[in-house]
């Protein structure tokens, strides 16, 4: 009898899961911060159709999030793994293990110096490297890259002034589930960078606001379900501020609150990844202008610099080829600032 019951239970389970999977209409996985595969165009003679169908069904499997969490918990409690896909937790924060890549570091130094020598040899050029939150964690992983390890290489290799912000950061400046930093902890850093560049930091009336949920990039790899977070942004009077986005050839908002529903909620800041932005502030007349080369970390920092600059040109060399820079009408006489996170410096293959 128990064999019959077992067989029936499995059949019922399989049929129930298959039906629920077909009826699943989710388009985004917040847990994994990505769009789910769309149902492929039906072409029965095309082998790609079947491969895409496999991906679609796996993405839409009923209880998918629960299965992912089950795997994470099994890795932690049964297999006693030290990390889960390179992610570990400590004190309610998630950290990813990053192993130092000398080639990537040298690639970034060389390309950044070449860029400076080609376009900005007569300008003041500054470089800010953003430490990872792992550098402020008490738990030490022997393989993990430490900021102090390669900051000296950067200082020595880069033909520009290095601004060290590591003393201004603490663990609570970062999100629990994401690698990025929280904007409400960046005011001192924005002020410090301005000062180090010899510019005036214009104070403004800041209002800290929160929205959510934020499921950070490390969230799906957590051993524990530590829950979603809120994303913090600093609101202020933005009359006179315009943000031009070259890719969409349109003006976008400094904070796009609808982006909270994107797979990556960090798109809230300056529309997320973008090849080229030109930010102008009609309320500023101090003559300060800035060209910024950046990765995603700068997205939260730049809004705090807007009240201090007439114009900020923002270029992301992951999406904008260096060879096309001459086509941009870059501001004459502007200072140049590079802001890159440690992750990007250590994985600089995406530099164009």
């Amino acid at each position: 009898m128990y064999k019959k019951i077992t067989i029936i239970c499995f059949l019922v389970f399989a049929i129930a899961i298959s039906l629920m999977t077909i009826l699943n209409r989710d388009t985004i996985s917040y847990l994994e911060r990505r769009k789910l595969k769309e149902f492929p165009k039906v072409e029965l003679s095309d082998p790609d159709f079947y491969a895409d169908l496999d991906d679609y069904l796996t993405d839409h499997l009923a209880f998918r999030d629960l299965f992912i969490k089950t795997e994470n918990l099994t890795n932690k409690y049964v297999l006693k793994m030290s990390d889960n896909d390179g992610v570990y937790s400590d004190g309610g924060y998630l950290f990813d293990i990053l192993i130092k890549d000398e080639k990537s570091l040298n690639n970034l130094i060389q390309k950044t110096n070449d860029l400076k020598n080609t376009y900005f040899s007569d300008r003041d050029v500054y470089f800010v490297a953003i430490p990872r939150k792992n550098d402020y964690s008490a738990r030490y992983f022997p393989l993990d890259l430490r900021f102090a390890e390669f900051v000296d290489d950067l200082r020595q290799g880069l033909d520009m002034r290095f601004i060290d912000i590591s003393e201004l950061l603490r663990l609570d400046a970062y999100y629990h589930t994401d690698i990025h930093w929280s904007q409400d902890k960046l005011m001192d850093i924005a002020r410090y960078i301005c000062e180090m560049m010899g510019d005036e930091f214009v104070e403004f009336d800041a209002h800290i606001k929160k929205t959510g949920p934020l499921y950070g990039s490390l969230y799906s790899h957590s051993f524990y379900d530590i829950g979603a977070e809120e994303i913090t942004y600093i609101d202020y009077d933005m009359s006179g501020v315009k943000v031009y986005d070259l890719e969409s050839d349109s003006y976008i908002a400094v904070y796009d609150l609808s982006a909270i529903n994107h797979p990556d909620a960090y798109d809230l800041f300056l529309g997320g990844p973008s090849a080229y932005l030109k930010i102008t502030n009609a309320n500023v007349t101090n003559g300060q202008k800035l060209i910024v080369f950046r990765d995603s970390f700068a997205s939260a920092l730049l809004p705090l610099l807007i009240p201090s600059y007439e114009t900020i040109e923002v270029i992301d060399l992951r999406y904008y080829s260096e060879s096309l820079l001459s086509e941009l009408d870059l501001i004459e006489g502007a200072k140049v600032l590079y802001i890159y996170g440690t992750e990007f410096i250590n994985q600089s293959g995406a530099l164009r």
Binding site: I17, Y50, L53, D54, T70, L79, G86
Partner: protein, 446 residues
């Protein structure tokens, strides 16, 4: 389509089981044949015609061969049967050795179904089986989706009676099949994939300690992956009333390399023994002839696994060790308890480097034995992190779990706990299937 996929587990398999249950008489085989051809078409598209060619040719030719049992007819039949395999699998390799670049896609599982079809022709020639009179029955045997792309190599005589008869629903078989399939799925998704992911994560390092760890992880991964497919194939066979022979018998517990190959991919070993080794004279001959026979078998075994020089060396490496075990003092080692296990594992770990690292196996092996900068913090970290998994895998590679199961399965409580255990393993396997993006299919070369 692979067994460890949502499409197979939740759509293809339940649908085929339902249609099979509804079908009567010969229609049952009809359901299986159509399902198997669709299963193959799903992943391979037009290459299904290659499978159909081998199926129809071997079926028709066996009837002719039964009437004219001459070596010439057999040789012609085998050559034609192997032609697609030679063209798709070996033409690129042969031409590349003459400096001609020629690429052709390899139909999945072509080595398996070509060997099954050829064994059928040889068995008919020898009179071991009668030629099938039903293309439906023969096609069901040759193309059965359970063993089509990753074995085991099932000989027609193994299931000749079963494929012809009605095969009514048998609750014991279906339950055993379900249990076996879930065990296979667990071995594949939890053990093989996780071990493989770890090996992949550290594959960029080249310190000696790391390379030994990679070698251990990859050998365990290959064993659990391959034996898992065989488990699932045997389980799927039971769903539909077929009883396939075992394909693995705890090879990592072997006491010699000869013993290892008697326990690893047994259906391939049996094929080469029955159709190549024995016809050449086997071991009942002069030592030099026996050595030649062994080298021929192991050369072919290597080539069966892949059309590349590393597979040739891989086959000859094991052939050479078996010859040494038979004709040199090495045979003394295989008689020493415990030492023989260590020796076997050592030879296997080194040997499988040829299998897994075809680009530069010798460089890999040399670095394994470079003790100058041997200790690696990376290796120590991963060894610690994956210690429980590696220990579990090592235990699962022994008969211990089966012994424990046999001991407790007699208890009345096992009727409750066994189904729960199967269900929990099924959920865990699904969790790893979905949660980990690492789900490689290792048999694309076969």
């Amino acid at each position: 389509m692979v067994f460890s996929s949502v499409t197979f587990i939740f759509y293809f398999l339940p649908l085929v089981i339902a249609l099979y249950a509804l079908a009567k008489g010969a229609y049952k085989n009809g359901v299986l044949l159509i399902a198997s051809l669709f299963f193959y078409f799903y992943g391979e598209g037009v290459m299904t015609f290659v499978l159909l060619f081998v199926m129809i040719f071997s079926f028709a030719y066996a009837k002719l061969l039964e009437k004219r049992k001459t070596k010439l007819y057999l040789a012609v039949g085998l050559i034609i049967c192997f032609l697609p395999l030679i063209y798709y699998k070996y033409s690129s390799f042969i031409l590349e050795n003459f400096g001609i670049i020629y690429r052709v896609a390899l139909p999945l599982g072509i080595s398996f179904f070509s060997f099954q079809a050829s064994s059928y022709l040889i068995d008919v020639y020898r009179g071991d089986v009668s030629a099938s009179h039903s293309l439906l029955n023969y096609g069901t045997y040759l193309t059965f989706f359970g063993q089509l792309v990753a074995g085991p190599i099932v000989r027609y005589e193994t299931i000749a009676k079963e494929v012809k008869k009605e095969r009514p629903y048998n609750e014991d078989d279906v339950y055993s099949g379900l249990r076996r399939f879930v065990i296979g799925l667990g071995k594949k998704c939890i053990l093989a994939n996780t071990l493989g992911a770890c090996a992949s994560a550290i594959s960029t390092y080249d310190e000696g300690m790391i390379l030994w760890l990679i070698s251990i992880l990859e050998t365990l991964q290959l064993y659990f992956d391959f034996s898992a497919y065989s488990d699932m194939a045997i389980g799927l066979g039971l769903f539909f009333g077929f009883h396939f022979l075992e394909n693995f018998d705890y090879p990592l517990c072997a006491v010699s390399i000869r013993n290892f190959w008697q326990r690893w991919h047994m259906s391939l070993g049996t094929w080469f023994k029955d159709y190549v080794y024995f016809p050449l004279g086997g071991s009942r001959c002069a030592p030099l002839v026996n050595i030649r026979n062994l080298l021929v078998v192991w050369l072919l075994t290597g080539l069966w696994h892949g059309a590349a020089w590393n597979f040739v060396f891989w086959g000859l490496y094991f052939g050479a060790v078996i010859i040494l075990e038979r004709y040199t003092p090495l045979k003394k080692i295989v008689e020493v308890k415990y030492l023989n296990h260590l020796y076997t594992i050592f030879v296997v770990l080194v040997g499988f480097v040829f299998f897994n690292h075809g680009d530069d196996p010798l460089g890999f092996i040399v670095k394994m034995f470079d003790f100058s900068d041997f200790i690696s913090p990376v290796a120590l970290y991963y060894l610690k992190s994956y210690a429980v998994l590696i220990i579990l895998a090592a235990l699962a590679a022994t008969p211990l779990p089966k012994m424990i199961y046999k001991r407790y399965s007699r208890l009345a409580a096992s009727k409750v706990f066994e189904p729960i255990g199967i269900f929990v393993l099924f959920i865990a396997a699904l969790a790893y299937l979905v949660g980990s993006g690492f789900n490689p299919f290792l048999y694309f070369r076969f």
